[in-house]
Symmetry: C2
C-alpha cells in the first residue's frame, strides 16, 4: 500500500497518520479562534485544483472597506496519494500548479507566508469551523467514445461525498457555495437532499443555505484576474442563501467594476454556465464543416473569418484549431445532456446541437493526420516510420495547459498509423495525458483508450530544444498558435530538418508569404481550412 | 393576357410597348452622353428590389473628391406584371418599397428629382451604356418542406438570364459586380462561363471583368446607412476586376471609416457571406434546445441570456424569437448546401450544423400554438373556434418586413387547429405572404403550401386598431418586440379583451412584474423559454 504522495517535481510526502489528524485539527481551531477574534470570517475552500487553489487565495487576499483582511481561508484537499502533495506545498507558500500568470505564485505566497490569511489542510474537520464553504471539487464527465458524448456519464462521487461530509460537519448557518461546474439541477436535486438529510440526523431543523455561482477562469497570463476581476453569476436555494452569496462575493471579488448577475434558482445559474460554454463550443463546431468546405474549394477560411470578424455582432467568430480543448468546452454540454435524463427525469433526445458540437470538436483533430498522410504522399513518402514533429502540445496559445488538447488526438492517431513522434512545446514540461495514468491525471481524462496501442506513446519524445525536435523530420505540424511559432522563418525550419519536409498548418499559423517560401524551398504544405494553398502551390512550388 | 402592372397602392401601369422601348433607349443614350461629357461614369444596377433600389441611389448620391457627382445611375428592372410598376414610381422620385428609414424616400427623391443622377428603366439596352454593372437580381432558395432545407433548390433562372444578357450587351471593359447573395461558386462557375460565351459570340477575346461583393443591409431605421456606412467584402475573378471593384466601392461607399476587406477569389467572398449569416442562424438554432430545456425545468432563458451577454466574447448571444425570419438567415445556408453538390460537384453530406440550424429555426414557431393550446386548456377552453390575437407580423422589432416571419408559421398552424385569427402590427399594411400569390411575392416565399387549408387564411383580419384587435380575444400572442408592445399594461389588455385571457410571450416581451399582474388578473401565461412562469403562477395566480 502506497503511503506517499509525489509532487510533479518528484518530491515524496508521507500521507498523514491518525495522530497527525488530531494535531492538525487543533492547529486549525487555534487559527480559527485567533482570526475570529480579529473579526474575520472563516472560509473553507474544498478542492485545491485549478480553480479552488486560486479562489482560496483571492478570498484570503481580499480586504474589508477599511483595508483589513476580512476572511481567513482554509484550503482543504483530500489526502489521496494523487493530490495530498498540494497541502505541504501550499503550506510553504508554493502554488500547486504551474501557471503562466506570475500572480498565481505571488498571491499564494503572499497570503500563506506574509499575510497568514491562508492555510492548507487535509482534514474535513475544518468544515466545523466554517462560516462559508466554497466547493471546488471536480465533477467530471467521462466519455465512452470519442464521437458520441451522449453515451458518457457524470463522475459525481467525489462531489457527493464532499457535500455529504459538509452536511455532517458545518455549522447549520454556514453558507455552502458550490462553484464547480455541475449538471443543471445538482444544487437542488443532489446537494440539497444530501445536506438536508445530514442536518436531520444531527437534529438541525433549519434549511441548508446552499448557493451556486460559477467562475469564468481563463488559463494564461491573467489567471488570477480572471477569477477576481470578472463578472459573476450567482443564485441560491432560498432568499437567505441568495443574500448571503451576494454579500460574500461582493466582499471577495471586484463586483464594483464587474457587477454580479443574480439569478433566482441554482438551476438557472448552473444552466447559464453550461449554455455559455456550449455556445462557444457550438460556434467552433459550426466552423468545422466550413473548414472542410474551404479546403475542398480553394477558400482560405482564415481570411473569410477575418472578413466576418469586422462586424461587431460577429467579432467572436474564431478559427477552430485542431480540435477544441481545455477542461470545459469538451465536457460541459455532456453534463447537461446527462442531467436532462438522470437528474431532471426526461427521456427524449432534446439536445441536438449541444452534443453534436462536442462530437465534431472532439474528432476535428483526426483530419490533421489525413493531411500529413496526403502531403507525404505528394513527396513520395509514407506516414509509417516517418518522423513527425509536433509544435505545440497545449490546448491554447501561450499556455502549458494540455487538457483535452487537439495535439493529443493528432498524436494518438499518428502513432496508430505508424509514425514516429517528437513534440516541442516551450510551455509544457509534463504532458500528463501521456504519462502514468494511475497517478495524474484521472484515467477519464486520457483519450488513449479510444485508440489502438497505447504503449507506443511512452516512446514519444518531448524535446526541449526546437532544432533538435526538427532534426530529420519528415513532417512538421504547427498545432498551437504559440508566439514562438508565428514567426518561425521557413528557411530555419527546413535547415533544422535537413531538407524539404511536409508542413501542416492546423491553426492559421502560416501567412501566405511563409507558405510561398515553404513551396519555394521544395516543401509540401497543407492546412486545416486553407483551401487556397493549392493556388499558392501552383504559383510557387519549386 | 394581363398588360398592366399594379403597385402595392393599387395604381395600374400599362406595360411598355415595342415603340416605348425604342424611345426609352434613346432617352437613356441622351442621358448617358450628357453625363459622360460631365466626366461621369455610367452605372447600371440590375434589379430594383430591397437592395438594388437603395444601392442605386447610394451610388447616384456619391460624389468625387471635389464634391461633384461622379456617377450617373440607371436602375433597371424587367417589365414583368409583378415588378414593372417600380420603374414609373422611381421616375417620380418615389421609393419602390416602404421602409422605416426616412432616408430611403429622401435619397431616391433627391437623386431622381433634384440631382438627376438616377433614372429608372425597363430596357436591358441600358447595359450597352454601362461602365459598371451592379447585379442585384434575386437568387432565391425554394424549400420543398418546412423541416428539411437540404431537399430544396436554388432558383437561379432570373440571375442567369440577367448575366447572359449582360454578356451580350455590355462593353467588353465594363465591370460586372455581382452583389446578390449567391451559392458559392456562382461568379466563377455560372457567371463567368455565361459572359465568356456571350463575349465569344461577339468576337470579344478579352476576359470578362467579374467581381463579387456582398452588402450587409439591415431593414430598419438605418437602412441606407447600413448600405453606405458599413464594412464590405469584395473579390474579383482576376487582378484587373479586383482592382476595378476596389476602386468602384471606394468611390461610392464610406470605405474610409469602414475599410474594405479584399478577398482573392469570388468563391471566398461568396462563402464569407453565407458563413456570416449561417453563423447567426446557428447561434439562434443552438438556443432553441436550451429554450425548451428552460421551459421544462423552471429556467428563464431571458435572464440566462442576459447573464451570459455580459461577457464581451458572448455579447452576441440573443434570445431566439418565434422562428428566425428575414430574407437571409432562413435561406443562405441552403444556397451553400446546394452549391456544394450542384456547382462544386461533391456528393457527400458535408454540412451538418448549417442545414440543421435552418430546420430548427424554421420550425421553432410551431411550439407557440402548443403553448396557446395548453394555456387555453388550463382555462377550460379549446383552441378550435377561439379568437387568437397576434401582436406583431414582421420578422423583427420595429420594422414592417414580414419576410419569413415566425408569425406567419404561428398563424398557419393555428388556422389548421381551427382558431380564429386577428393580427395587429403597427408597421405592416400589407402582409404579402397571405395575399394573392400570383402577384407579390413569388410563390416560393409563402409557406402556405406546407400547411392544410390555405384558403382560410384569406379570412384572417389585419386590424389597424389595437383595442379592436384585442376585443373578445381568448388568447393574445406577443410575437414581435415592437416598442409599443413592451410597455402594454396588462390591465389594458385584459380590459380590451373583456376579461381574463391566455397570454403567450414569444420573445421575452413580458417582464416578471407584468407576468405577475396577468396572473393576478386571472390570466394564464406561458412563454417560449420562460420556465420560471410556473413559479410566478404559484405565487400570484388569483
Amino acid at each position: 500500500m502506497q503511503t506517499f504522495s509525489v509532487s510533479p517535481e518528484g518530491e515524496k510526502f508521507p500521507l498523514p497518520t491518525d495522530e497527525d489528524y488530531q494535531k492538525e485539527f487543533r492547529r486549525l481551531q487555534d487559527l480559527a479562534d485567533r482570526h475570529r477574534q480579529m473579526g474575520q470570517e472563516i472560509v473553507v475552500v474544498l478542492g485545491m485544483g485549478f480553480v479552488g487553489a486560486v479562489m482560496a487565495a483571492v478570498i484570503a487576499d481580499s480586504t474589508d472597506d477599511s483595508g483589513k483582511p476580512g476572511k481567513f481561508v482554509i484550503g482543504m484537499q483530500r489526502p489521496s496519494t494523487r493530490s495530498y502533495w498540494k497541502i505541504p506545498l501550499i503550506q510553504r507558500g508554493i502554488a500547486p500548479m504551474k501557471a503562466e500568470d506570475p500572480e498565481v505564485e505571488k498571491i499564494i505566497h503572499r497570503c500563506v507566508v506574509e499575510k497568514e490569511s491562508l492555510t492548507a489542510s487535509y482534514t474535513y474537520q475544518a468544515l466545523t469551523l466554517a462560516d462559508v464553504v466554497v466547493v471546488d471539487v471536480q465533477c467530471d464527465y467521462i466519455k465512452e467514445s470519442l464521437n458520441n458524448v451522449s453515451t458518457g456519464y457524470v463522475q459525481m462521487e467525489d462531489l457527493e461525498k464532499a457535500l455529504e461530509i459538509t452536511g455532517e460537519l458545518i455549522p447549520s448557518n454556514a453558507l455552502v457555495l458550490i462553484e464547480t461546474t455541475v449538471p443543471p439541477g445538482t444544487t437542488e436535486q443532489v446537494a440539497y437532499p444530501l445536506v438536508k438529510k445530514a442536518f436531520k440526523k444531527r437534529g438541525i431543523t433549519s434549511e441548508p443555505l446552499l448557493a451556486h455561482s460559477y467562475e469564468r477562469v481563463m488559463p494564461g497570463k491573467d489567471y488570477v484576474s480572471s477569477i477576481r476581476n470578472f463578472w459573476r453569476v450567482c443564485s441560491g436555494v432560498n432568499s437567505e442563501s441568495r443574500e448571503r452569496v451576494i454579500k460574500f462575493l461582493t466582499e471577495v471579488l471586484d463586483t464594483k467594476n464587474f457587477p454580479l448577475t443574480v439569478l433566482e434558482r441554482p438551476i438557472e445559474s448552473e444552466t447559464a454556465k453550461i449554455v455559455e460554454n456550449s455556445f462557444r463550443a457550438s460556434i467552433l463546431a459550426f466552423l468545422n464543416e466550413w473548414s472542410l468546405f474551404a479546403e475542398r474549394n480553394g477558400v482560405d477560411l482564415v481570411k473569410v473569418i477575418q472578413a466576418i470578424k469586422v462586424r461587431p455582432t460577429h467579432s467572436n467568430i474564431i478559427f477552430p484549431g485542431p480540435g477544441i480543448g481545455g477542461y470545459c468546452l469538451p465536457k460541459d454540454g455532456g453534463l447537461a445532456v446527462w442531467a436532462y435524463k438522470h437528474l431532471l427525469g426526461f427521456e427524449d433526445d432534446l439536445f441536438k446541437i449541444t452534443p453534436a458540437a462536442i462530437n465534431i470538436n472532439d474528432t476535428r483533430a483526426l483530419h490533421v493526420p489525413e493531411l500529413a498522410r496526403d502531403a507525404l504522399r505528394n513527396m513520395g513518402k509514407y506516414i509509417a516510420a516517418s518522423k513527425v514533429t509536433i509544435l505545440g502540445a497545449s490546448y491554447r496559445e501561450d499556455v502549458g495547459d494540455t487538457r483535452y488538447s487537439g495535439s493529443e488526438v493528432i498524436i494518438r492517431r499518428l502513432v496508430e498509423m505508424g509514425a514516429e513522434i517528437c513534440v516541442y512545446d516551450p510551455y509544457v514540461d509534463h504532458w500528463w495525458e501521456f504519462e502514468a495514468q494511475e497517478t495524474y491525471p484521472t484515467p477519464g481524462k486520457s483519450r488513449g483508450r479510444f485508440f489502438r496501442s497505447q504503449k507506443k506513446l511512452s516512446e514519444m519524445r518531448m524535446e526541449p530544444d526546437l532544432d533538435t525536435a526538427l532534426a530529420d523530420a519528415d513532417v512538421v505540424i504547427f498545432a498551437v498558435r504559440h508566439k514562438q511559432f508565428l514567426n518561425l522563418p521557413p528557411a530555419d525550419v527546413v535547415k533544422a530538418a535537413g531538407g524539404p519536409l511536409a508542413v501542416i498548418d492546423c491553426f492559421g499559423i502560416l501567412d501566405d508569404e511563409k507558405i510561398k517560401e515553404y513551396f519555394q524551398l521544395g516543401c509540401e504544405v497543407k492546412g486545416l481550412g486553407r483551401g487556397h494553398i493549392n493556388r499558392l502551390k501552383k504559383q510557387y512550388k519549386r
